[in-house]
C-alpha cells in the first residue's frame, strides 16, 4: 500500500513541472521500478486530430469546483500551468483555434506508438494499459466491427484492457475477439461484469504480472452502467454495476497472493473513481477514463487503508499517462505521474504503425474522403450542454424531419474541426459511428419532454456520483430552457419555450432524435440524415449553440 504521504512531501511532485517548452515535453526521466503506461477512450481515432477540451464542466455535490470540474484559466491556476504554453493548449480550450494552428494535431496511433516505444526503452517491463472505448468511434471501426482497432492494439503491444463501447458490438462479437485475436496477447478484464442469473463472473477480474521482481495486480472495471447508457439488448445476459464489495474481495485476494502494487484499470468515470477511492481499501492507483477528463496530475484520496491515487487520461488518443512507482522491500516509497499530450508535430510517426494504419484504411479510403460541405467556424462537441458539431446534428435532424424539437445524445467523443475545413463522410462518422444509429421521430407531450430532460440532467448532476452515468446533457434543438444543476432531482429544468412561447405540458410536439436504446426502434442512420443536410447546405456558417440559461452557477470554476 502507498506509504509515501507526508514522509516524502507528496503531492508536490509534478507541480510546476508542466512543460512550457515543447522540446522538453517528452523529457521524462525514468523513475522507480514499476511503470504503467495508460491510455483510454481513444474512440478508434487512428489518425492525428484536433480535440477541444470543454469550457463548461460543472461538478455536482462534493465534486463542485474540484478536479476535474475546473476549466480554462481555473485549470491553469490549479495545476500551475503557464498560459499560452503547449500544456495549456493540451489541457484547456483557451484561444483554441490559434493554439491549435500553432501546436498542430494531437494523437494518432503512429505517433502514440513512437512515444510508447521510447518510454518502454527507458522503462523495461512497463505495462501498457488500455481503459477501453477503443473499438468504437470511427467509420472503419464500425465497418470492421472493431477489427481495425483490435489489430492496431495488438501491434501497439497493449497488455491489459477493459471496456464500455466494446460491448455495443454484442456479446458474440466481443467473445469472438477475446477468444481469438486477444488470446495470449491482451487480457480483457472486468471484475464487475456478472451473469444476470447467478451473478457469476463473465471475465477474469484480475491479472498479476511480475515487473522487475515486483508482483503487480491489475484489476479491470468496465463501465458500470453500460446496459443503461447503451442498449441492454447487446448484452442481455450480463449485469454490470460498480460492485464495491466484489472489488474489495478481488483486492484482498491479490494482496494475499503477494501483490505489492494493486491498480484498478477503470472505466467508471473520474467522479465515481474519486468516491470509490475513498471507500475501498488497498488500491494504490486508479487509472481512470470514461469522463474524458485530461487531468495533469494524480489526485491522492485517503481511505481506511491509506492513500489511493486517482488519474484520468483524457480521450481521443490525445494523451498517454505514465505512472512510475518506486517499490522497495515490498513497499511503494514514492511515485511520479505525468499525463503526456501526444502532439504529432513533436513525435515522429512510427513507420510500422503508419503502414498498418494505412493498410486497414485502404479498402475504405475513397468512401471516407467523400466531401460534403465546408465549415466556416470551429466544430467541436465537448461541453456540458452543447457543442457546435452537435448543433449541426440538431439542425439537420429538425430540417430533414420537419420536426419542432431535436435531441442528440451528450457523447464526449469525436474530433474537432478547424474553420475552413472541408467536412467529409469520415468526419461525420467520427461523430456518429455507433451500432444503434437509427433516427426516430416521436410525438411527445410537453410533460414527457420535461421528464426526459430531467432524467438526463440527473444522470449528469446527481450529487452522488454513483447515481451518474457520465456523458453530457442531451443536446437540445428547437426549444430553449433554463437549468439549475444544483437543484434536486426532478426540479432542475424550467422555462421551456418554443419560438419564445412557453410550452404546454399537455400539448404534443414533434421530436426527432437518434441512438434509441429500445430494441424495436427503426429509422434511417443518423449519418445519412447529417450527410443529406450538409450536402444541401454546401457551406456551414459559424454555428451558435443553443444552450440553457443556467441558474445558480455564477462563480463556478467549471464554467467559461
Amino acid at each position: 500500500m502507498l506509504a509515501f504521504g507526508a514522509a516524502t512531501g507528496m503531492p508536490l511532485d509534478g507541480r510546476g513541472a508542466h512543460a512550457g517548452d515543447p522540446d522538453a515535453l517528452y523529457d521524462v526521466a525514468p523513475f522507480g521500478n514499476v511503470s504503467l503506461l495508460h491510455f483510454t477512450d481513444c474512440h478508434a481515432q487512428l489518425l492525428p486530430l484536433y480535440y477541444r477540451e470543454p469550457d463548461v464542466n460543472i461538478g455536482a455535490g462534493a465534486a463542485n469546483a474540484r478536479v476535474p470540474h475546473v476549466t480554462r484559466e481555473a485549470l491553469l491556476r490549479h495545476f500551475g500551468i503557464a498560459p499560452g504554453s503547449v500544456s495549456a493548449h493540451a489541457f484547456t480550450s483557451l484561444n483554441y483555434e490559434e493554439a491549435a494552428r500553432r501546436y498542430g494535431k494531437a494523437g494518432g496511433f503512429a505517433h502514440l506508438a513512437t512515444l510508447v516505444k521510447r518510454l518502454r526503452a527507458s522503462r523495461p517491463g512497463a505495462l501498457l494499459l488500455d481503459g477501453g472505448d477503443t473499438w468504437q468511434g470511427s467509420a472503419t471501426a464500425l465497418w470492421t466491427r472493431g477489427q481495425d482497432m483490435v489489430d492496431v492494439s495488438v501491434a501497439l503491444g497493449v497488455d491489459v484492457m477493459t471496456g464500455h463501447w466494446e460491448f455495443t458490438y454484442g456479446t458474440r462479437r466481443l467473445t469472438e475477439i477475446i477468444e481469438g485475436d486477444l488470446k495470449g496477447r491482451i487480457d480483457f478484464l472486468a471484475q464487475n461484469v456478472r451473469t444476470v442469473d447467478f451473478e457469476d463472473p463473465v471475465f477474469p477480474g484480475t491479472v498479476v504480472r511480475e515487473l522487475n521482481g515486483v508482483l503487480v495486480a491489475i484489476i479491470g472495471q468496465a463501465f458500470p452502467y453500460t446496459p443503461i447508457a447503451n442498449p441492454r439488448y447487446f448484452t442481455p445476459n450480463w449485469s454490470f454495476g460498480i460492485r464495491e464489495r466484489e472489488l474489495q474481495i478481488s483486492i484482498d485476494r491479490a494482496r494475499d497472493e503477494g501483490a505489492r502494487v494493486v491498480v484498478l484499470l477503470s472505466h467508471n468515470g473520474m467522479d465515481v473513481d474519486l468516491k470509490l477511492a475513498s471507500r475501498v481499501r488497498g488500491i494504490d492507483a486508479i487509472l481512470g477514463g470514461h469522463t474524458h477528463d485530461g487531468v495533469p496530475e494524480a489526485i491522492p484520496v485517503s481511505n481506511a487503508g491509506g492513500t489511493t491515487l486517482v488519474t484520468n487520461a483524457g480521450s481521443n488518443g490525445k494523451f498517454l499517462g505514465v505512472l512510475d512507482f518506486d517499490v522497495r522491500l515490498g513497499r511503494i516509497t514514492d511515485f511520479r505521474y505525468r499525463l503526456l499530450p501526444v502532439f504529432s508535430n513533436l513525435l515522429p510517426a512510427d513507420r510500422e504503425m503508419s503502414a498498418l494504419i494505412e493498410r486497414v484504411r485502404r479498402p475504405f479510403a475513397q468512401r471516407l474522403a467523400e466531401p460534403l460541405a465546408t465549415t466556416e467556424g470551429l466544430l467541436y462537441r465537448r461541453g456540458n450542454f452543447n457543442g457546435t458539431f452537435d448543433q449541426v446534428i440538431l439542425d439537420a435532424l429538425i430540417d430533414v424531419n420537419d420536426a419542432q424539437i431535436a435531441f442528440s445524445p451528450g457523447f464526449r467523443w469525436g474530433p474537432s474541426l478547424l474553420p475552413g475545413h472541408v467536412i467529409t463522410r469520415e468526419d461525420v462518422m467520427n461523430q456518429t459511428a455507433i451500432t444503434y444509429p437509427a433516427v426516430t421521430v416521436n410525438e411527445f407531450s410537453g410533460e414527457q419532454i420535461k421528464s426526459i430532460l430531467e432524467d438526463v440532467c440527473d444522470n449528469l448532476f446527481n450529487p452522488d456520483p454513483y447515481y451518474q452515468q457520465g456523458g453530457d446533457m442531451v443536446r437540445v434543438g428547437g426549444l430553449t430552457y433554463a437549468c439549475a444543476p444544483h437543484a434536486p432531482m426532478g426540479s432542475r429544468i424550467s422555462d421551456m419555450r418554443l419560438d419564445g412561447r412557453r410550452m404546454d405540458a399537455g400539448k404534443t410536439y414533434k421530436v426527432a432524435g437518434w441512438a434509441p436504446v429500445a430494441e424495436n426502434a427503426r429509422g434511417e442512420p443518423i449519418w445519412e440524415v447529417v450527410e443529406t443536410w450538409l450536402r444541401d447546405q454546401g457551406q456551414i456558417g459559424p454555428v451558435s449553440t443553443n444552450e440553457p440559461r443556467l441558474i445558480g452557477v455564477a462563480e463556478d470554476p467549471g464554467i467559461k
Binding site: 442469473d197 443503461i228 447508457a229 447503451n230 451528450g410 438526463v456 440527473d458 444522470n459 447515481y467
Partner: protein, 156 residues
C-alpha cells in the same frame, strides 16, 4: 461459469426442484405454510402502513444492515436487492419499495444459526427508496437506499 448449475435450473421444473430439495432435506413439507403469509402487510398501499403492520416498535437506522443493490437499475422489472445483516439473533428481514403500489416486496424468516444474507429480485416502476427492516434480538433495525430507475441512453 457454473454451467452445470445453470443447466440444472433450466431443465428441472420448479416442482421437480422442490421435490429434490425436500428429498435432500433442504426443506420440510410444512415450510410453505400459509399462516406465515402476512396478508395485511403485503396488501398495504403505503410504506407507512406496511411498516405499521410489520413492526410495533420504532426502527433505528443501523450500519450493520447493508443493502446490496445497484444505485441505478439495469431493468426496473427485475432489480436485484440483497440484504446482509451483521447482527446477532436475526429473526426476520423485510424488503419494501417506497413507491410501489404495494410496498412490501418480501419477508424472510431467518431460522436460528442461519447466516442473515438474502437476495431477491424486485419490480420497480420508478426511482424510489428501498427500505429494509431487520428484526434481531427483539429490536428493529433499518436501512434505506435509493435506487434510480432511468429511461437510459445518452451515456459516454
Amino acid at each position: 461459469m457454473d454451467l452445470e448449475r445453470r443447466t440444472f435450473v433450466r431443465t428441472a421444473g420448479s416442482a421437480g426442484i422442490l421435490a429434490f430439495l425436500v428429498a435432500r432435506g433442504f426443506l420440510t413439507v410444512g415450510d410453505a405454510r400459509a399462516d406465515l403469509w402476512n396478508k395485511p402487510a403485503f396488501d398495504a398501499e403505503s410504506l407507512e402502513d406496511a411498516i405499521d403492520i410489520l413492526v410495533n416498535s420504532p426502527a433505528a437506522e443501523s450500519p450493520e444492515v447493508v443493502i446490496v443493490a445497484p444505485e441505478i437499475a439495469e431493468n426496473g422489472a427485475v432489480v436485484p436487492v440483497g440484504v446482509v445483516a451483521k447482527l446477532d439473533g436475526v429473526e426476520s428481514i423485510a424488503i419494501l419499495c417506497e413507491k410501489n403500489p404495494h410496498p412490501l416486496a418480501a419477508i424472510y424468516e431467518i431460522p436460528p444459526g442461519t447466516l442473515a444474507d438474502v437476495k431477491t429480485r424486485v419490480k420497480m416502476a420508478e426511482t424510489s427508496h428501498v427500505v429494509v427492516l431487520v428484526k434481531a434480538g427483539g429490536r428493529i433495525h433499518m436501512a434505506r437506499k435509493e435506487i434510480k430507475v432511468t429511461r437510459g441512453g445518452c451515456g459516454g
